[in-house]
């Protein structure tokens, strides 16, 4: 399955597309799409260029956990730098 992610234009924060078509900072609230819908959802998200930069699809499994080749990278994006646990979303506790 897929989720849509990008960085918010105004401050660069990592965000995910929700079921309500909003952008959320919480990976747990990211909408899940079946892989075949990925390209269409991405194309729609890419039109929102005044809100977001660098939108792309990431792989998730049936349970909604990150998967695939980029799993280390995407995990670090959901949390924050692994060498600074006091910074990024991990610092806030809830993801």
């Amino acid at each position: 399955m897929k989720a849509v992610t990008g960085n918010r234009l105004s401050d660069g924060a990592v965000v995910y597309l929700t079921n309500e078509d909003q952008w959320t900072e919480k990976f747990a609230n990211a909408a899940r799409f079946v892989t075949e819908d990925g390209p269409d959802v991405l194309a729609a998200a890419q039109t929102r260029s005044a809100e977001i930069a660098d939108v792309y699809l990431i792989d998730i499994d049936e349970e909604g956990a990150l998967s695939g080749r980029a799993v280390v990278r995407e995990t670090i994006r959901t949390l924050g730098p692994s060498v600074r646990p006091d910074l990024g979303y991990q610092a806030g506790g809830e993801l």
């Binding site: 234009l9 105004s10 994006r77 924050g80 060498v83």
Partner: protein
């Protein structure tokens, strides 16, 4: 230090306003991300994994206390209270919001700082010897020429859309601390047999995917003709450098495709054909710039300091720090102090706002207001009285900046890697931290002696792994972090590119591997040999065997 006059100040202020306009056009939707990206990159603004990253230029690595304080203040106001010093003697903020960047740049412009040309396919911030103006045996202060190049290359209309980025480094000592042979252009200022000063011009060095050591295309260039000669090199490159493949676009590829001799004759031909008189600066302008770099007024002092000697006997840790972190100064009774930004287990190159403020205070009190940034991600206080060293040490220790490990195994260069960088294959920082912790004992480190470990999180080689005595390169192996070891590299005057040791290692194996290599060196070294010397004497095979021998 160079000080802006109204022309310099106006140029920087106008650049901030121009960028403010570009940001506004992006936020209003007038510019798409594709259109905006090259514009923000030209001003050092990247989009990384977690946020934007702003790279601030520290021209040739020289800072005043006031500038350091402004950098600290900006890290509090617009970032998360810290910043990262880079291998290009620059500084990076990891979390600024796009909407704040124009204001941040405005604040920096007030202290004569900017982010101009810190990215993009243009001539980047010129780097130099961190000991410039303080080093023994220097022909003249190389920063004079760095500043000459800075002004010439700033907003250069012809050379802002080069095939690829372009890096120039200048040194004026026989011992090369500026790694000039791994730059697109390396300039070594020296006196020839006739007693004239001029530059040896080396072209085509560089790391990245295809590392090369620069080749000399002109043995001696009279220094007054520096700019026209650079213009000739850049024009040949701009017109003939490859643009079909970004991995083959650096000048090193062009030079090696043509051969150094043919490349040199193209440059000489262009140089002869151009009208140099408006390019080369006249003597009075060079003299104007030179005056800013006049040496501070050193007190006449005896070479030795009784206080220093007694304190180093009393306080062993101080004694060690003096041995590892200070360096001979050209003025009697003075020393150059290196401030390590590599605490054991810390993040190489990071400094907190409080640490930056502390360094600013110490420099103001004890180093004629001057601070340098090194390409090894440390700081330098260039002019400290030997009598003051103990006070400086205590002040640094209070700020957790007194780790006595300069040039040693834990003085590791590491790029930001996958903890921050969107291009990374793997993390770099945690590897550096674990190696540093493994060799935590400073006595052991001192016994091991000079050992340069350099780590890059991808083939872009920002961590200079090719020129590490031990280089570590992060590679992606089916989604897992793997590391390739290279051996025998050097970025100094004996420059060489490291050789790949063998199969990649998992992140768990890397630290053990380094320990094995160091162990083999300690068993086999002769006399005062450094790791690199032993490696060169015994050859790669022996070290590879030691590295991959079953445990």
């Amino acid at each position: 230090m160079y000080r802006y006059d109204e022309f310099d100040a106006t140029m920087v202020a106008e650049r901030v306003e121009q960028f403010r306009g570009q940001v506004a056009r992006r936020l209003s939707g007038d510019l798409t991300e594709d259109q905006f990206k090259p514009l923000r990159l030209m001003n050092g603004l990247y989009l990384q994994l977690h946020a934007y990253m702003l790279r601030v230029a520290i021209p040739y690595g020289t800072l005043s206390s006031k500038q350091m304080r402004a950098l600290a203040e900006a890290s509090r106001k617009y970032d998360k209270g810290y910043a990262h010093f880079t291998t290009r003697q620059n500084l990076q903020y990891n979390w600024p919001a796009l909407v704040d960047v124009p204001d941040l740049l405005d604040d920096l412009a007030k202290v004569e700082m900017h982010a101009i040309q810190t990215s993009g396919n243009c001539i980047r911030n010129v780097t130099s010897d961190q000991y410039a103006g303080a080093a023994q045996g220097e022909v003249e202060d190389p920063r004079i020429w760095c500043e000459v190049i800075r002004q010439w290359s700033t907003f250069h209309p012809e050379f802002s859309y080069l095939p690829r980025k372009f890096k120039i480094a200048v040194t004026a000592c026989d011992h090369d601390r500026a790694a000039v042979k791994v730059h697109d252009i390396g300039l070594r200022l020296y006196k020839n047999d006739a007693g004239e000063t001029g530059f040896e011009v080396m072209v085509g060095g560089g790391l990245g995917r295809t590392p090369y050591i620069g080749q000399t295309i002109r043995k001696f260039l009279p220094k007054d003709h520096l700019l026209s000669y650079l213009e000739a090199i850049l024009r040949v490159y701009n017109l003939q450098g490859r643009r079909d493949n970004m991995y083959k676009a650096r000048i090193k590829i062009l030079l090696n495709a043509k051969g150094a001799d043919d490349f040199a004759s193209l440059v000489e031909k262009e140089w002869a054909a151009m009208d140099a008189k408006d390019v080369d600066l006249p003597a009075d302008e060079i003299a104007r710039i030179r005056d800013y770099f006049a040496a501070p007024e050193f007190e006449p002092l005896p070479e030795t300091s009784a206080g220093l000697d007694s304190n180093s006997t009393k306080n062993k840790a101080f004694g060690r720090w003096v041995r590892t972190n200070t360096h001979g100064h050209r003025a009697p009774g003075y020393a150059i102090v290196n401030i390590s930004l590599k605490p054991i287990g810390g993040i190489p190159g990071d400094a907190s706002d409080a640490q930056m403020d502390a360094v600013a205070d110490i420099a103001e009190q004890h180093s004629f207001d001057e601070i340098r940034v090194t390409h090894e991600q440390n700081l330098v206080l260039p002019h400290v009285k030997k009598d003051d060293l103990y006070a400086v040490y205590l002040a640094l220790e209070a700020a957790e900046l007194a780790t006595a490990n300069i040039g040693l195994v834990s003085d590791i260069i590491a790029c930001p890697g996958l903890d921050y960088c969107s291009l990374a294959n793997t993390r770099s920082i945690p590897i550096a931290q674990r190696i540093s912790e493994r060799f935590a004992d400073l006595g052991v480190q001192e016994d091991i002696g000079e050992l340069k470990i350099k780590i890059s999180g991808c083939i872009n080689a920002c961590g200079h792994h090719h020129v590490g005595h031990i280089g570590i390169l992060g590679v992606d192996k089916k989604g897992e972090e793997f590391y390739q070891i290279t051996l025998g590299g050097s970025g100094a005057e004996d420059a060489s590119i490291g050789e790949i040791a063998g199969r990649g290692l998992s992140s768990g194996e890397v630290v053990d591997a380094v320990e094995k290599l160091v162990g083999y060196y300690r068993e086999n070294r002769q006399d005062t040999e450094r790791f690199l010397d032993t490696y060169r004497r015994l050859g790669a095979e022996k070290f590879k065997e030691a590295l991959y021998a079953a445990a």
